[in-house]
């Protein structure tokens, strides 16, 4: 089946969300023109290995690129290497920084997020890095070869994965975190404690409850010290700023589209202009029920599932309000040393945690919010994670009392049909 032969979709942002929209359209049989606009040099790539296998040097640049140039040609996906300057919604055109104008009948914003800079004096010294792009990972890899003292600002997933990756080459980083524990509100206290002790066992140091107050450099402008809010001074010749990210909403704002912690979209990922959709890290989605908070996630799963959803909708333009709202269960993963963390659902706002398993090296934590199962964190318990994904997607769950029973098995519960 082919449809939309005279259509033209422009996707801005060539990260994994943008790539998935473009190739997803072809999988859905979309026959119109597809342009994928990206402002980074080289072929589109995948970011997750940048803090893991790529940083460790276990894989090379080719392995970051899921699809060769030949596949773009074969699938007629026009890879446009330029920066999108603005959207002309009245003229249905994207204006590029090289002066080109790309007409569209549907536009997908997959502009992602931008790392927050370290807002401290000296944050721009040489030796202070950020990690989002391949170019930044390459620069870090090079700098790590000669690095002595490493300080990481922020104990989120990026900071922790970075510390684990550089530890493989004998570097022991010190992580400075303003909260009292790592991973913020993304995980339970139990799981946070597991990762703190895991990192400490591998030689990573933590300073909790403090922030970077200033960075001091030498005469050549290279960072030498990190000063914390309590006055402590840490030696540092390599600093990673891993203090979170903000959605890239520049194009949407410039085009007069509503922005609310991300490009505001409805539960079918449409902005206020029905010709313009947004997916992935940049998209702030309204709940399908119409009431409740918006949800914006920075995760691979969310990027890919929203992108696939958008491609389906664009390939079936006639379904309109009959289309089911986006409704994929969020899940995450992170590998650090020999601990594999998998999270199904959203942990934020949980008010009760039930631990299943040995509690030390392999365990799951069931997180409840007002009596309902909200998320399950699994460390080295992949069968629990898979069972949890199924239960949460189906809206089934053990009660906290059931889960607390000594012989409780999430896997058995999932199989028993609840």
């Amino acid at each position: 089946m082919t449809h939309g032969a005279d259509g033209r979709v422009v996707v801005v942002g060539a990260g994994i969300a943008g790539q998935q929209v473009a190739f997803g359209l072809r999988e859905q049989g979309y026959a119109g023109a597809v342009a994928l606009v990206g402002d980074e040099p080289g072929a589109p790539y995948e970011r997750p290995p940048l803090t893991k296998a790529y940083l460790r040097g276990d894989i090379g640049p080719d392995e970051l690129e899921p699809r060769p140039a030949e596949l773009y040609r074969r699938e007629r996906i026009d890879l446009v290497r330029a920066r999108a300057e603005r959207i002309d919604r009245a003229g249905r055109t994207v204006v590029l920084d090289d002066g080109r104008r790309l007409p569209y009948d549907r536009l997908v914003l997959a502009t992602g997020a931008r790392n927050r800079p370290l807002r401290a004096p000296g944050g721009d010294l040489e030796g202070v890095f950020s990690l989002r792009t391949r170019r930044e990972a390459d620069a870090l890899r090079e700098a790590l070869a000669g690095a002595g003292s490493i300080v990481v600002a922020g104990a989120g997933f990026i900071g922790l994965e970075f510390a684990a990756a550089v530890s493989a080459h004998g570097h022991k980083a010190t992580i400075v975190e303003s909260r009292a524990r790592p991973l913020g509100r993304a995980v339970s206290a139990h799981t946070a404690a597991h990762f703190t002790s895991l990192h400490e066992r591998h030689g990573t140091g933590f300073v909790f409850g403090e922030e970077v107050a200033a960075l001091h450099g030498d005469r050549a402008g290279r960072v030498r010290e990190v000063e914390l809010t309590d006055g402590t001074v840490l030696p540092a010749d390599l600093v990673l700023a891993a203090v979170g990210a903000a959605p890239d909403t520049r194009l949407a704002e410039g085009a007069g589209l509503p922005v609310d912690d991300g490009v505001a979209v409805d539960a079918r990922l449409r902005t206020r202009d029905p010709r313009v959709l947004a997916v992935g890290d940049c998209a702030s989605m309204a709940p399908a029920s119409g009431t409740g908070p918006r949800l914006r996630l920075e995760s691979v799963q969310n990027a890919l599932d929203q992108a696939s959803y958008a491609a389906e909708r664009l390939a079936r333009p006639d379904e309109g309000e009959d289309a089911p709202p986006y409704g994929r269960l969020p899940w995450f993963w992170s590998d650090q040393y020999d601990s594999s963390l998998q999270i199904a659902g959203l942990a934020a706002g949980h008010d009760r945690a039930v631990l299943v398993g040995d509690g030390d090296e392999a365990f799951s934590v069931l997180l409840y919010r007002r009596g309902a199962l909200a998320a399950v964190e699994s460390v080295n318990r992949p069968a629990d994670h898979m069972a949890a994904r199924r239960l949460l997607a189906e809206g089934r769950a053990p009660t906290p009392e059931q889960a607390a029973a000594p012989d409780f098995s999430l896997r058995a519960f999932a199989r028993a049909g609840g």
Binding site: F23, P66, L71, V300, Q342, R381, A383, M386
Partner: protein, 107 residues
């Protein structure tokens, strides 16, 4: 380069050359073979690259880790005797002529 055949649930099939050292999952994605999603990019974390391996060849494949075994526990389409995660199958010369069938859905 080993030739690997991917059979879709609707019986469409594609045969592609997969370089030695490349996973059966990457072989599909880089050639635009549908039916394999591979959300986690090859880390055995998502179970969206599930395949059914030709029964005659299953026993000769590299062994399965406990982690992979557990991830196959609750896949979107039912696990069978010959289920594997294709990201964990790195092609070597013995993969020549291997056929894998992709399930109807991965998510």
């Amino acid at each position: 380069m080993p030739k690997i055949t991917y059979v879709a649930a609707d019986d469409g099939e594609r045969t592609v050359d997969v370089p030695v050292g490349t996973s059966v999952m990457r072989g599909a994605v880089s050639n635009g073979v549908p039916g394999i999603v591979a959300q986690c990019g090859g880390n055995a974390q998502c179970a969206t690259c599930h395949v059914y391996v030709d029964p005659d060849r299953y026993g000769a494949l590299p062994p399965m880790s406990d982690h992979e075994d557990a991830m196959l526990d609750t896949t979107a389409c039912p696990r069978r005797e010959t289920s594997r995660l294709s990201c964990q199958l790195k092609a070597d010369a013995d993969f020549e002529g291997l056929t894998v069938t992709t399930p109807e859905r991965q998510r």
